[in-house]
Symmetry: C2
Subunit: 353 residues, 2 copies
DNA sequence: ACAGATGGTGGTAGCGCTATCTCCACTGTA
DNA sequence: TACAGTGGAGATAGCGCTACCACCATCTGT
């Protein structure tokens, strides 16, 4: 403890942890060289680089993000506008975006979205917090008024899990049509020929996409599209239950039901049980979204998973890049990144009886 | 654009936004005075304060968190250790803690908890990230090995929604016993006399508390404790279904079932429907936790809500305070804060037939 | 009346890092 | 030999803020 003198240098803070200066001293190089190594810049000889890396390892050095962002053009502030009370989606979103925010040196602020608030007020609220960019998850990203108001205010946007094309804002999305197609195809491959579909409310653009994917799969398999096999619901459990009742009253009844989201699939499951049907022996049921519901019902639901965390992470990365580019007074082209969904097979599907 | 000269002062960054210097100039005071006002310190005359506040308002000044944390003892880094895949709980936790983190000038890092990882490894992982404190939400906060390992490493802890007393770490909790008591009492007040209870797995201390609350309510109402009316489950939908089957096969069967969490209540609901019982006319069903499930089934579930967001916010505030106190080389006494739960009445309960 | 508490304010020195310029040693070309 | 061009490294000046000390007025008590 005494080799450092009385309190050499570090008078103020609790002052734990080594700094670039410590590393530089240990490696016998200058501060800048250490900085260059840490930031992976090119102009450092391999030899010097490895010496510095060794010193870093040895001292267990971690750069101070505050100092870094203060000195560099670094940190930016991103707002995650949220209204979606679908908790599982939100939490995945948060996990993904927080993680990437740390990497991209961005600060993430959660801002609630109030549908009643005029967009002007929203814009000024974000301005007050010196927001550099905005993430618009799922239903918000498809809302034209919000998107255009924020875009008009000059804020970079990233729409997460958006489904419709828009002139403004970056987007990270999955192909809902293809996902629905994949699930329908999966059921057809299992041998199902009469498949009931519970479509979502026509208010959301995504509903049409999922229906379209379903229909395409049927068409490609040479199956007829019976209008009676498509019911509609508003994405709630109860709607799923009622829609399924309707589908199950058909004769012959479908051997599988594909619902446009998990809650409706759960409702369909309840309807099946009411009818004394065993799932999946007598009826296969599939959902979409892979929310918490999917695993909290029994049998656990086969469904489509959106990589919400990854999507959010990409969105944060894109926004951070946008902000960095903008600070150099350059423009960044609109970016639309597709992400791949995943068909999660659990226990609610099987070949028809 | 030209009144500032070529690039007066602000050579490097995009440099948007006013700084303390701008505010100081506008208010005709020194930097320090502005800083004092912003930080709510006492030694400023009301007159000066209001002048500064006006300037802040006018310039729309927001302090730069990076600079603040670099200069002052300010910012601390808190890790939220999470393993609970119960998404709704996690997202509430995140919303609450992020919000408070902003206020308390703390940076929140999400660290996954892997039950397989030795506690040594966990501690060193947190150390690598220069963590100043750790939040331990729900099941983790009751895990003695984790708590004691982190405490031994000298890390301040805040256990969120913990249920058992421990010698280390602050805690923010609700009274599970009282909450279960309140719900049982509610059912009794509705007129129920035969109430089935689905207890949780004995592995978790919380299970015993909820059972105890239930039993106390019965005792206080002068009702007998029939052992047959208490079933057990492991907090899954399926376990709830099976436990409810067992309770419903009793004769006379209970007129109400109180499950120790929402998933088991959902399972009980399915069992009721299988038996052709109408909920709540023929059978009342209540849950605990108010997870997403509670509102995604039908009828929507009457349940107990923990204020997860508020709890997390308090936990963050306590940890931030602890870190600040510790940096002044003082100790902070263990703090245990009770929060109040709420009985959320929805549509799954009513008077007995 | 004077030492000592205050209450209110300003000056200054960094916090740990990176941008930018400078410097040096080498290469290749005329 | 002289010249620019290059890759590698160091020196220095801040980024925006707060801790710390210094300072000057007022107030206290004896």
């Amino acid at each position: 403890m005494e080799e450092t003198g009385v309190n050499r240098g570090r008078r103020r803070r609790g002052g734990e942890g080594p700094t670039v200066a410590d590393v530089a001293r240990a490696a016998g190089v200058s501060l800048m060289t250490v900085s260059r190594v840490v930031n992976g810049e090119s102009r450092v000889s391999v030899e010097t680089r490895s010496r510095v890396e060794q010193a870093i390892e040895q001292l267990n050095y971690v750069p101070n993000p505050a100092a870094r962002s203060l000195a560099g053009g670094g940190q930016c502030r991103l707002a995650l506008l949220y209204d979606n009370p679908s908790a599982s989606f939100l939490s995945e979103l948060l996990v993904g975006s927080l993680d990437q925010a740390r990497r991209s040196d961005a600060q993430l602020l959660l801002e609630p979205y109030d549908p009643g608030e005029p967009t002007r007020a929203l814009v000024s609220r974000l301005g007050k917090h010196r927001i550099d960019g905005v993430l618009l998850p799922a239903p918000l990203g498809d809302q034209a008024d919000v998107v255009s108001a924020l875009a008009a205010a000059g804020l970079p946007l990233a729409r997460v899990a958006a489904t419709v094309a828009m002139p403004h804002g970056h987007a990270v999305e999955i192909d809902d049509e293809a996902a629905a197609h994949a699930m329908a195809r999966h059921l057809i491959d299992l041998g199902h020929r009469r498949i009931g579909f519970i479509a979502g409310s026509a208010r959301y653009p995504v509903s049409a996409l999922r229906l379209a994917g379903f229909e395409r799969a049927l068409r490609e398999a040479g199956l007829s599209l019976e209008p009676g096999l498509v019911a509609r619901g508003d994405y709630t459990y109860r709607a799923g239950l009622e829609a399924a009742e309707q589908l199950l009253s058909l004769s012959p009844r479908p051997t599988a039901i594909f619902a446009s989201n998990d809650d409706m699939a759960a409702g369909a499951m309840a309807a099946a049980h009411r009818h004394g049907l065993d799932v999946p022996r007598d009826l296969s049921i599939c959902g979409f979204d892979d929310t918490a519901t999917a695993r909290s019902i029994w049998p656990e639901l086969t469904t489509i998973r959106q990589p919400a965390a990854d999507m959010a992470a990409r969105a944060v990365a894109i926004l951070a890049e946008h902000v960095a580019v903008a600070r150099r007074h350059q423009a960044m082209a609109q970016r639309v990144e597709p992400m791949s969904f995943e068909l999660i097979r659990r226990a609610s599907d099987g070949p028809p009886a």
